[in-house]
Symmetry: C2
Subunit: 290 residues, 2 copies
């Protein structure tokens, strides 16, 4: 189905890619270009990687200038929009607003007060009211999705598999509460649950809990489990992993990482697999529980 969507959009004009931080936006752009569709990158100031953006047709944009984005994207002939890359929830006071955005401000403030799901579905509808079609990065570039099975050489032990199952069940239970999409389980014990802090900060906490011996499990035990939330608007916020996730999981003393196959983004499968081999961690794509 993803392949069909990818094929269908080839004739829909250039794709606008709104770029947050990290290498994901460029992986998506390259995949779309390889499918012979033009792209226009809208690089968010302060977030997008300025060293890499110049290789592509691009405009710099400032958070909060939604009216300006709409005008330029229309002038470029873009109707489809993809939003991709790291973007910490911005401090509203730091955002410079244009008139169009000012009109939307009360709504945006309300959105930011809710959980992620609420924020993201609200943003999608704002784009759509302006005549844009918001697509998921995985719809225009399905090759960025994690496949089933392991990347790299390491495999989970039987104990790791039990931890993965427990983590998936936990994330399934917390899904309706619109919290984080990750947890750490070691030897059957839930060590950490992600909420507003994000995966990297949760993994730093696990490293700290090991140092203070609030967690007794030996290094090399424990799994980071990440799962897409059910009913989540997958156009905007699929969980993702990259080389940084491998490094953080290593610091936290884990055995490996398990993510839901087909609903987790891996920017560069090759480099993630190589990093995992170097650190002797497993990285596995698993099926979402029914």
């Amino acid at each position: 189905m993803n392949e069909e969507i990818a094929a269908a959009v080839v004739d829909a004009g250039p794709l606008a890619i709104i770029c947050g931080g990290g290498s994901l936006p460029f992986a998506v752009a390259d995949a779309v270009i390889a499918r012979r569709r033009q792209v226009v990158l809208f690089a968010i100031e302060g977030w997008a990687d300025s060293r890499r953006i110049f290789a592509y047709r691009h405009h710099w944009i400032v958070l909060g200038r939604f009216g300006w984005f709409c005008r330029v994207a229309r002038a470029e002939g873009c109707r489809d929009v993809v939003f991709i890359g790291a973007l910490m929830r911005p401090a509203i006071r730091q955002v410079r607003l244009d008139l169009n955005t000012l009109r939307l401000l009360p709504r945006i403030v309300r959105l930011f007060r809710g959980g992620d799901d609420y924020l993201l579905s609200g943003i999608a509808s704002i784009f759509e009211e302006q005549g844009f079609r918001l697509l998921g990065a995985h719809e225009v570039a399905p090759e960025i999705l994690m496949p089933e099975g392991t990347l790299g050489r390491e495999h989970p032990s039987r104990r790791d598999v039990a931890d993965i199952e427990k983590g998936l069940m936990l994330l399934n239970a917390t899904g309706p509460f619109d919290i984080g999409q990750a947890a750490v389980v070691a030897d059957g014990r839930v060590i950490a649950v992600e909420a507003a802090e994000g995966t990297d900060q949760m993994l730093s906490r696990v490293a700290q809990l090991r140092r203070t011996r609030q967690v007794e499990q030996a290094r090399g035990r424990g799994v980071l489990i990440k799962a897409a939330k059910r009913n989540q608007d997958r156009r905007l916020d699929l969980p993702s992993i990259g080389p940084q996730t491998i490094a953080s999981a290593k610091c936290a003393g884990l055995a490996g990482i398990a993510v839901t196959a087909g609903s987790t983004i891996v920017a560069d499968v090759g480099s993630v697999g190589a990093a995992a081999d170097r650190e002797k961690l497993f990285v596995i794509g698993v099926r979402e529980p029914d």
Copy 2:
């Protein structure tokens, strides 16, 4: 029912109280003495408050010397044992072991690797095999339990009540996974979920997330919700709050604290209420959801 148990144990000889840190052990001892039962305090070295222990009949004990504890407690005529007070999971290597404990060591190591429920029910059965009866502090001193309604002058707003309900539902969903007993919810958004780090560290994280603006909710919004786990062995690990919890909640910028009435320990209702009034936080005991 708690009153009946408290009455029934009056003739059962002196009560052994194994004392961790904080003021709770002394609140329990005073309540038991007021019911005209003798107490013998077993103060854990490195944890029990050495300034206050001398007012009571007591012995110092070292973690890991379980055989020694059994002999002394029997010589004191104690059959009933209560364990109360703060005790961070000890680093197993720091514990000095006696022979009796060495025999139990493989079992204890396994216990420490599991979640809290697993650890605690295992400890209870070890005491019972030695002929002791492990009681909950709330069974010998029901006055330490949080009542329904507010302590102090502040009350939750309608928005706070909605946050409390969401937090209770979340803790109900995570209960089967044997994780922490607390979460922070602000304006309907789950900000933090406690696992191995404990309530105070979770509240520090919330304060940090506010500083970095990863959480946008204004100060004075948000509630700490604590609930006893279902099916938890309540003899050993009821959630508790004290003046420190009020201080941490204030630092985290919360509006107040909600705990399950009848299953949360408050060492000194008067001083917690006074601290809450000083910081303008509400503290409320709520019914556990059905």
